[in-house]
Symmetry: C2
Subunit: 381 residues, 2 copies
Amino acid sequence: MNASVSSRPFATQGPVLIVGSGLLGASLGLALQAGGVEVLLRDTSPTALRLAQDIGAGIPCVDAAGVEPRLVVVAAPPDVADVCVVEALREFPTACVTDVASVKSAVVEGILAAAVDDPRLACRYVGSHPMAGRERSGAGGADADLFCGRPWVVVAHPDSDPEAVVAVRTLATDVGALPIEMDAVTHDESVALVSHVPQLVSSLLAARLVEARGETLGLAGQGLRDTTRIAASDPRLWTAILAGNAAPVVGVLEQLQGDLDELLTYLRVAVERGPLRGGSVGAVSRVMRAGNAGVARIPGKHGGAPRRYAELEVLIPDQPGELGRLFGELGEIGVNIEDLVLEHSAGQPVGLARLSLDPLRLADAEAELQRRGWRLLTHGV
Amino acid sequence: MNASVSSRPFATQGPVLIVGSGLLGASLGLALQAGGVEVLLRDTSPTALRLAQDIGAGIPCVDAAGVEPRLVVVAAPPDVADVCVVEALREFPTACVTDVASVKSAVVEGILAAAVDDPRLACRYVGSHPMAGRERSGAGGADADLFCGRPWVVVAHPDSDPEAVVAVRTLATDVGALPIEMDAVTHDESVALVSHVPQLVSSLLAARLVEARGETLGLAGQGLRDTTRIAASDPRLWTAILAGNAAPVVGVLEQLQGDLDELLTYLRVAVERGPLRGGSVGAVSRVMRAGNAGVARIPGKHGGAPRRYAELEVLIPDQPGELGRLFGELGEIGVNIEDLVLEHSAGQPVGLARLSLDPLRLADAEAELQRRGWRLLTHGV
């Protein structure tokens, strides 16, 4: 295994005060303490604070007298993050302060407005958006590895001190995240495009299934499952996120609305005049080709350009150990699996594992697996 | 492994004539021949016919004199399927005839219109939609197991002979598919909802990425990847499918358009008047909750009601054999993996395997994996 987070020396200088001991705050506390950094915790809920303390996320900061945190991390809900940041900047006049809200313009605007009487106050603030989360909220879901391998957007404003930027970058690196610097507007537009609009579109699509007949849903395949998976996300969390980033979300959604309206106009002509008249074929083809071009731009594994992997499909009996045996044997053959999708059909006790692997290893993998008795379906590169 | 297709005795009575030797036709030929059924092939392209013959999908039917197929399967493109079916009904007056086009109303209407002078002609026709496909088209991508575990929709019209329905159901069962009977309108509406509209929505969403900045795309996570995966589908194939099913697609897309328009109206109010005014929070919450309700209706594995699985996340170093070792050890522990998603973050040489498993086995799996040195992230049920 790779070197664990806790075995690297941490460069973050403590004590670090974490305000808000939910999932992100408690996970950060666990990670920092594992790296030898002193962590103090605050929370408006004594119960939440106690839970975070009990799991080892840090020590409650009951009396601030004599406490001089080097860094304060506000891990409170987005709609109170700005107020908490300003309080921390005032209470600890030498500390750098960051927050972890998943929208950034609204937070920094609130801070600058509150600090208008003290122009130097906000210099010690730099925003963060660690792109990590869990289905389970609260300190009960906390994990020291929550940030491992995830992007951590570092959002300085024009007056942010360079030392504060370094402190936040260092924090991100210490807990295993990948710091990416971005201004607040770019951040908010970016997450609208890659996260918030996909969430809403997936929900809008899944909402069409509410009144579907059972026999219709019996025809559901992997495409429907993939496109609607995130529609199962938490409404409360997402309502708060989307309300805080409405303008960029509206920008992207309006473009999508324009494309949808145009497509529908052509499809209605096809219904009235037949499929081969009125330009509907061209309109559908344009949408499909634009989709091809867009999806090809999503970076592949390890941040490189998208790669074409060879695909191999293997029938998997539904019993413990069969998938393990497959992967064990692929390991013996020396083939690394780049991606895997498991597919099950309604009513069938057999699954299909769709593996992506290095095209240069495909022939070996096929020959070896067949020799070992696996049933393969056809493949494409 | 399960009993293979070829080890079961086939009930289909040959010879079977397959008209069109592309992916579906050649795969069907392979499967039938493996089951001991005599297969004859036709194709307007001599090259395609030769390729299908060479891979063992059947024998070219050059001279029809003396040939009496019991069943004719038209595996030609959807826009010529009706013509091919009528020709087959006329040429072989005792054969049952089916087609495999993924839209059904247009095909059956074409057949009934062409057979209007001979009311009994169409009685021997029953439509099919085997819900199987490949990235690779043509006989080169053919596989005898293509239909294994996939739904095969059997679409009779009001005058279809019961014997023809039985012949098509038997064909589906022989090649390992799951026959589902449905009328043409229900079929076309169903695939519009579970397949055609998700395809268009995924393409519309991915099209928004065409002009995105590289740094924005660097924040892409699993949600974006899942929702846009099928946007990489073949434009030519999908243009033909969608043109043949425009009316049901328009019906579903218009409802989605209505929901999107309403959401955008509220979000624009939020931009103008602030996030907490004008009802935008309620509108977003309604969309999210409807999405929750819709996705919960998709049948789970094995056709049962959706189940809640426990989730376990394991860090996987990017080297051959590590995923294999994980699955091998899960097999030793006796834990069956219900689903798996592999996630990679940009720039990180470590992956994250998100496993779904039986909640009753979660504690065992966690304890055993940790004992064996795996790094686990937190889980939720």
